[in-house]
Symmetry: C2
Subunit: 403 residues, 2 copies
């Protein structure tokens, strides 16, 4: 069987081209187009400073119908005032003209440097060039995935098939994100932390799609932090073409939600793995906290501590940094009831160190996947957060880079 990809669900085409927004020769304008108007849902950043395309996109997706997504990388179109909003609308208008739909059926996205007006001559030519290249092959999916990348070192995609009432359905997604990754867990308005686009062929009502996307986002994109810096442009958008089976029955909703959750978690993991300067993913499982909110706060506190992230980079089982981070992250945390395990090895239990072979554990921390497991022992709240280590390479990327 051929490998599944973003355009495997029936009813979608895509393209990615180099328009010259980036100073490199890499692709920087992408289109993802549905053959007909789709049921659609999206979640956006909760930052109070929102980029122009987010303002426009929130408005356009509100009706639950989309026909196309137009993205540029290399420039965020954020902090660009009225001209920025005009430019985001122009991107939609050109896309609508090229694919033959309403302006309000196009969702725009931008990612890159903040505070610069879009080079609209290049963008305009880029959208036309991309529209002329639309197709539904794997190569087209890859070109779109490449066009949305910024400091990413690799493409991120996930796809899966599932069965609804004996009919096969497909869900697939691509995303970008490496730095400025720090989701905020506020429940409303919808929220997210990077760019991700998900396609599926199921037929589903927009209101249901919106709810399922918000739930899936909370346990995936909102559980990733690279630098805890919530961006101005974060967008996750899901389009359902309706070519496949109908999702309405409770059981089918559960099946679809599970498939969607898996795609989102896979994409989120890939963002952590490609975090700026990352050499490993650190998964932080906090269990049995007083409440779920406590578990989340503790997991995020550990994940965002530069001291913890540096220790992970150095394969150092310096568990004191982890326990102290838990201690300032939730007032309910009680060290005397807690047990901390690194890669399965208990290192701290009920207020005291557990003797362990430091050299052996350090060797096992030298892995591309590290599991930090903290049992708080005073409730049933659980949370998982994905992060990465903090390396010199992060400093190189973010200090040597110049605006």
């Amino acid at each position: 069987m051929a490998e599944l990809h973003l355009l495997s669900p029936g009813g979608f085409t895509a393209a990615g081209i180099h328009a010259g927004v980036k100073s490199t020769r890499k692709p920087d304008v992408g289109l993802l187009v549905a053959d007909a108007a789709c049921s659609a849902a999206a979640v956006f950043t909760t930052n109070r400073v929102v980029a122009a395309p987010v303002i426009v996109g929130r408005d356009h997706v509100a009706a639950g119908r989309l026909r196309a997504i137009v993205v540029n990388s290399g420039n965020a179109n954020a902090c660009t005032g009225a001209q920025g909003r005009k430019d985001a609308l122009t991107m939609c208008r050109q896309t609508a003209a090229a694919v033959g739909c309403e302006v309000g059926e196009v969702l725009p996205s931008s990612t890159g440097i903040i505070g610069h007006l879009l080079p609209m001559t290049k963008i305009t030519a880029g959208i036309a060039a991309a529209a002329a290249k639309l197709g539904n092959s794997h190569e087209h999916a890859l070109a779109f995935a490449d066009a949305i990348m910024t400091t990413d070192t690799r493409r991120k995609s996930a796809a899966g098939a599932f069965t609804i009432a004996r009919s096969k359905a497909i869900i697939a997604g691509v995303c970008k994100g490496s730095g400025m990754i720090g989701p905020r867990l506020a429940a409303t308005p919808p929220h997210a932390t990077m760019l991700a686009y998900i396609t599926t062929d199921v037929a589903i009502a927009p209101s249901l799609l919106r709810r399922l996307l918000a739930d899936a986002t909370d346990a995936s994109f909102n559980a990733v932090t690279v630098d805890d810096h919530c961006s101005t442009n974060d967008t996750v958008c899901l389009m359902a073409s309706g070519h496949g089976p109908v999702i309405r029955a409770k059981k089918d909703i559960a099946t679809f939600a599970s498939a969607l959750g898996e795609i989102c978690r896979s994409l989120a993991w890939q963002i952590a793995a490609d975090g700026e300067g990352a050499t490993k993913v650190v998964q932080i499982d906090v269990r049995n906290a007083q409440a779920e909110a406590d578990a989340r706060a503790i997991a995020r506190g550990i994940a965002n501590s530069p001291l913890v992230k540096c220790a992970m980079h150095g394969n150092d089982p310096n568990w004191g940094r982890i326990v102290s981070a838990a201690g300032y992250s939730a007032t309910s945390f009680d060290p005397d009831r807690s047990v901390l395990r690194l890669q399965g090895t208990p290192v701290f239990r009920h207020g005291r160190p557990v003797p362990f072979n430091a050299a052996a554990l350090s060797k096992r921390l030298a892995s591309d996947r590290v599991l930090v497991d903290l049992d708080c022992g005073n409730g049933s709240g659980c949370a998982t957060v994905y992060t990465c280590d903090l390396s010199r390479e992060y400093i190189r990327i973010n200090a040597d880079y110049h605006t």
Copy 2:
């Protein structure tokens, strides 16, 4: 006039010696002793994971009287259970025996690695050796300041004189702190973020001293963040010998509070300047926010963003990172009413970029003091936070270091 130092206020002696807690030959046990019981106040970490000496110290200082402070560096005596508390009490008992006071009049402090029992044979010998060396010269003050350091690259001290009803009074302090610096701004219980010891010769009631210390801490130690990692051992302790003028009248209280505030701010600045890997202090002034709490949240959000800290390290006027950090730090933040200045140069105003000479501004960011000034334009809340840049050296210190 001779330079003022920790032992300039009448009634104090100190010592610092190498006891072998640290693997280097540097001093690691210090004593600060008052000739007679002092009016005293202290503030401690709000971390839920508190080191044994903090548990013991909170108890001992509660009555507002202290005679001595005993400190070791190289080992935090944190996460060490009942034995740790016993060891902290033993440190107090030995100090009390050596200087001739009650056990409850001694405040213990420890700083260093978490999760290891104190080497009590070395500590015991160290306290005896330090007690035999007590003196009130500048050299004694320096030896004590050296004995409390860990990853600090330099000693931190401040001193000043002021006049109360025509009598001269002195206030002086030393502190340590370089990494694991991230105060929490909760109002109660009292709180702080590193080790600092302050002496003064005024006569003042413990309850008043406590209130003034809490206020001074909020605007100084609690306004510093290096890595936002609130430690298990943070302690600020102030002893007033009573050799000098009495602080009781409203006017005199204001004079003393001002002198105390100045010492605390100087020490706090020195911590930011000696932050792990730091090459500069970044002062973040947030003005005219909706409320003081919003101003604090915005200032801390900016100060703790690794992207902002890396930009500062690279002398990069990448103001989008600053504005976006403000945007996720307080829901009241309105970019359309805000003005951001870097080193006095406006770079963002009312939702849009302000053109500026990037090369010239970058040159002025290459300073050991950078001022980020954000006028939020929608209230009267103000806050100042001190931080430092994020460099490869931070990674070296914290990733290459092994427990």
